[in-house]
């Protein structure tokens, strides 16, 4: 068996939630002390939002203030997940937040550089480096008896359609399930990776293919979710016995959260106090909501989850280590969005591996 590197103490399956506060953009330097800010970081896991009349205090697994470095974010968020991945767990890291809150900076690094040696590089490139570092170390230890195969795919979900970022010519792709392999994107290009440098290349190429559009807030932002997946397969030969292990690492950059009707809030099944939907063709959503409160009775709901939740079903209350990085902008103008991001993150903590086992002992206790 693989050694547990940093033996994660027995922790629940609850999703871990990290909040990162970005510094305000340059040029809007604050001259009047704290007045321009809508929040303050109280400790490494609490944050205070200056709401009126009463300030609100939120507690998370980790709160990173404006000074927190990329390296430190990686260590506290992703390191553990990459290690679990080597131990055969699936892992997923999400970045969530409004446009301009620093999702891409956190996950990728500065947008103008596709040079991942940059000291400001983000979680994704650092995860590559660490993963391949661990693989090399394993190989050295185990000698020729052990080999690794890493493959990656990079897809984008836009408007409930799936596109392959590694093959810009491809048309819409479909999700399928395999009894051994789980959920996968049928026909997505899988590229074999042998080093972190190769992984950077694939990432850079795919990133350029993303559908980027301007939102009504008039900033450059993506309305699509991007999912970078690495499959790590290890093969160990012990005499005649071959032991194969495989796990997935999903790195997800979600679309900006400022538009509530975008799918992720809905997609994670965390309902917002909804507004009236005007289109009669959405009647089904209303009815589905009525059935949702059904009291444990057998029922079937005809409307499938969103593509994103289906693809990451395992990560959201499944058999995986998952964490969400909620990015917030501290400016007082962002108060509304920041509050909604923190509320979302608060609820995300409640998502757990729900193993409902059909149990019917009627008549058996006697």
């Amino acid at each position: 068996a693989l050694p547990l590197l940093n033996s994660p103490s027995v922790e629940g399956d609850a999703i871990k939630v990290y909040v990162r506060v970005r510094p305000p953009s340059e040029g809007t330097a604050l001259t009047d002390g704290d007045q321009g800010l809508c929040l303050s970081v109280l400790s490494s896991n609490t944050i205070r939002l200056h709401s009126k009349p009463e300030p609100k205090i939120f507690t998370f697994d980790y709160v990173a203030n404006m000074e927190t470095t990329q390296e430190s974010v990686f260590s506290s968020v992703a390191k553990n997940i990459v290690e679990s991945c080597m131990n055969g767990y699936n892992g997923t890291i999400f970045a969530y937040g409004q446009t301009g809150s620093g999702k891409t900076f956190t996950m990728m690094g500065p947008s103008d550089s596709d040079n991942f040696t940059h000291s400001l590089r983000g979680v994704i490139p650092r995860s590559f480096e660490y993963l391949f570092f661990l693989i090399e170390r394993e190989k050295e230890k185990a000698g020729s008896g052990k080999s690794f195969l890493c493959k990656c795919s990079f897809i984008e979900i836009y408007n409930e359609q799936i596109f392959d970022l590694l093959d810009s010519a491809s048309a819409g792709l479909f999700l399928r399930e395999h009894i051994k392999k789980g959920v996968f994107v049928d026909g997505a290009v899988e590229q074999v990776l042998s080093s972190a440098a190769e992984a950077y290349q694939v990432l850079t190429m795919g990133w350029r293919n993303r559908r980027v559009a301007s939102t009504s807030m008039n900033r450059e932002s993506s309305r699509s979710h991007a999912v970078f997946t690495i499959t790590v397969e290890s093969m160990e030969k012990n005499n005649e016995i071959v032991n194969i292990r495989s796990s997935l690492l999903n790195l997800v950059d979600l679309a900006g959260s400022e538009r509530q009707k975008d799918t992720h809030t809905e997609g994670l099944r965390l309902k917002e106090a909804g507004n009236i939907n005007r289109s009669l063709s959405c009647l089904g959503q209303v009815i589905t909501a009525l059935v949702d409160v059904g009291n444990g009775k057998q029922r079937h709901i005809c409307y499938r989850d969103s593509k994103l939740t289906f693809l990451l079903r395992d990560s959201l209350g499944g058999n995986a280590k998952t964490c969400i990085i909620a990015n917030v902008h501290p400016g007082s103008r962002c108060f509304g969005e920041t509050l909604s991001t923190l509320n979302f993150a608060q609820r995300a903590k409640l998502i757990k591996n729900k193993a409902v086992v059909n149990e019917d002992t009627q008549g058996n206790v006697s």
Partner: protein, 591 residues
């Protein structure tokens, strides 16, 4: 002046086109471009109207101004300027207030109220939205009662006489506006957690879509099938069946649209097949719930069919059901004449009253089983693992509940065998890394089924003079298999170092405890003539019972989840050591 009026109408028409058609093509960088142009045009029209005010008839002008205020109100709401929108809409309703029951105003008034409802819901003030929408509903009812003639469509106020629309079209648009009122109310009630009322309004919305032909058959069928699942959760089988029958009937129209045939892509066909399978799955749940509810009514305290209760219910059924259902039926009936006939014919294929004996249960079972086959045709394991397994689980559940109605134990065993075959063949291939939850469900269900079969075999054996070696072997092997699957389930709770959790997560607490308890009982049931072996089994049994007792002592919160099991375990922990002592004494009588 006539030319002037024509120009005004033209401007108005252009504004409407910009707002409803052009705006959909606006680039993302300027999402409201067409709406803003439409707004400018509407303002111009408003200016022109004011200029004409001198000579015009006061009422006519007021109504025309109300139309403009309405359009401006909607325009501002659409462009996220709620306060301005509210002002315009309020002005519209004020202008119309005295005339709101007259045929040229009622439709506009209702639509203004609808939009005020939307506006307040955008402000998260659902209660206020509710008052506007309910008043729109009341106005519709009052108008239909007092007048009922097809009222003027709001757009007609800016049309030349010869362009005006037919009564039929007027009525259609008016009814559509009211359908929207009901649909918005359904949402408002849902947000206010008035679930029953929300469901009723969804039902009415569906009903009206059918009556006024404003529906897409596939969408409608899926909505009706989904609604049936709401009724199932409320145990309203008659309503659930009606929704499902209507769903199937309307869905069959979807394939019959001739124009779609040629340019239908592979993907569309695929989608259609999937929808059909989804509706089949709703039917499966219907059959399953009906059978399971009937079982609940009929079973005695050890889960067997209670013959007294059966007779009682049979007598009661004749008296009550007919009367009660007739009244309810009128309220929910979908469709007009021919659709209605097809729906009723569809309904006749399966009962909506509780089955009270094996024959009745079997008929429902067979319908359910047919839908299982239909659903599996699309949801094949290759490509749809989760869905496929869920359907197989339903199939197994159908057999399980049918077995309850079966009196013959041998035949009952065969039904459980069928369940084992279907579940085991899936279980062997399933990768628990990706399907942990399903995998656990299957382990538990397989264990329970073996357990149940063992109990049946013991019951069969008890009728014999003496247990023959074949039966003993069978009982032991069923017990071993049950133990195997319970252990697999318990193993799935271990961490990567294979350590069993110190404290169980809340969601697996009960199943894990039940698994331990059942294993304890199973070791107690194993039959052996070897006393030493018997002693060993008793020892193992005792260990498992002790686990329950110790765990609950350490974590008193767990007691709630396993009260009965705990009580019995305590009893056994008390009894077993004495029995084991006696057995030991028998083994070595001289010590």
């Amino acid at each position: 002046a006539a030319g002037g009026w024509a120009a005004v109408c033209e401007k108005f028409r252009t504004a409407r086109t910009l707002s409803t058609v052009e705006s959909r093509k606006d680039p993302e960088t300027e999402p409201y471009r067409s709406k803003y142009s439409a707004r400018a045009l509407l303002q111009e029209v408003k200016q022109l109207l004011s200029a004409a005010e001198e000579g015009g008839e006061a009422r006519l002008l007021a109504v025309r101004r109300a139309v403009l205020e309405y359009e401006l109100g909607v325009n501002h709401t659409d462009t996220e300027e709620l306060s301005a929108g509210e002002e315009h809409l309020q002005r519209c309703t004020q202008l119309l207030e005295p005339h709101r029951l007259s045929p040229d105003c009622v439709s506009l008034y209702i639509q203004a109220q609808n939009n005020l409802g939307i506006l307040w819901s955008l402000r998260d003030e659902i209660k206020t939205a509710q008052t506007y929408l309910e008043s729109a509903e009341a106005l519709y009812n009052q108008y239909m009662k007092e007048d009922g003639n097809p009222p003027l469509d709001p757009s007609e106020h800016f049309m030349a006489e010869e362009e005006k629309i037919t009564d039929q079209e007027r009525s259609k648009r008016f009814e559509k506006a009211y359908t929207h009122t009901l649909y918005y109310l359904a949402q408002v009630y849902q947000h206010l957690e008035m679930i029953e009322k929300a469901a009723q309004y969804c039902h009415t919305t569906l009903k009206r879509q059918l009556e006024y032909c404003g529906y897409n058959p596939v969408e409608w069928a899926l909505n009706a099938a989904t609604l049936s699942q709401y009724y199932l959760s409320k145990q309203c089988f008659m309503e659930a069946r009606h929704c499902l029958a209507a769903s199937s009937v309307i869905f069959s129209q979807a394939g019959q649209v001739p124009s779609a045939e040629d340019n239908e892509t592979e993907q569309d066909q695929q989608d259609l097949r999937q929808r059909k399978a989804e509706i089949a799955r709703c039917w499966i749940k219907y059959c399953l719930n009906l059978l399971q509810s009937a079982r609940k009514l009929l079973e005695d305290n050890i889960g067997e069919l209670d013959p007294d209760r059966q007779l009682e219910l049979k007598a009661q059924r004749k008296k009550e059901e007919d009367e009660k259902e007739k009244g309810r039926k009128k309220a929910v009936l979908f469709g007009t004449s021919d659709i209605c006939d097809s729906v009723l014919a569809m309904e006749e294929k399966v009962s909506s009253v509780y089955p009270l004996d094996f024959q009745e249960a079997r008929e429902i079972f067979l319908v359910g089983q047919n839908y299982v086959l239909e659903a599996k045709e699309f949801f094949q394991v290759d490509g749809y693992v989760t869905d496929h397994i869920e359907i197989v689980q339903d199939h197994s559940a159908l057999f399980k509940v049918l077995a309850f109605f079966e009196e013959d134990y041998e035949r009952r065993c065969k039904m459980h065998k069928r369940r084992l075959d279907m579940l085991e063949s899936i279980y062997v291939d399933l990768n628990p890394q990706y399907y942990l939850l399903i995998s656990r469900q299957l382990q538990f269900e397989l264990a329970d089924t073996y357990y149940e079969m063992m109990d049946l075999k013991i019951a069969i054996g008890n009728r014999l003079e003496e247990l023959d070696s074949h039966t003993i072997k069978k009982i032991n092997s069923l017990a071993q298999l049950a133990i195997k699957y319970y252990e697999l389930f318990l193993d799935s709770l271990r961490n990567p170092d294979r350590v069993f959790p110190e404290q169980l997560e809340e969601d697996v607490l009960r199943p894990a405890m039940v698994a331990k308890f059942h294993i304890a009982r199973l070791y107690g049931k194993l039959i052996t003539s070897d006393s030493k072996k018997q002693l060993e089994n008793m020892q193992t049994s005792l260990e498992y019972y002790t686990f329950l007792v110790d765990y609950c002592e350490k974590y008193p919160d767990a007691v709630r989840a396993v009260e009965t099991e705990l009580e019995l375990s305590r009893e056994m922990v008390g009894l077993l050591p004495t029995r084991m002592e006696r057995l030991r004494a028998k083994l070595c009588p001289f010590i």
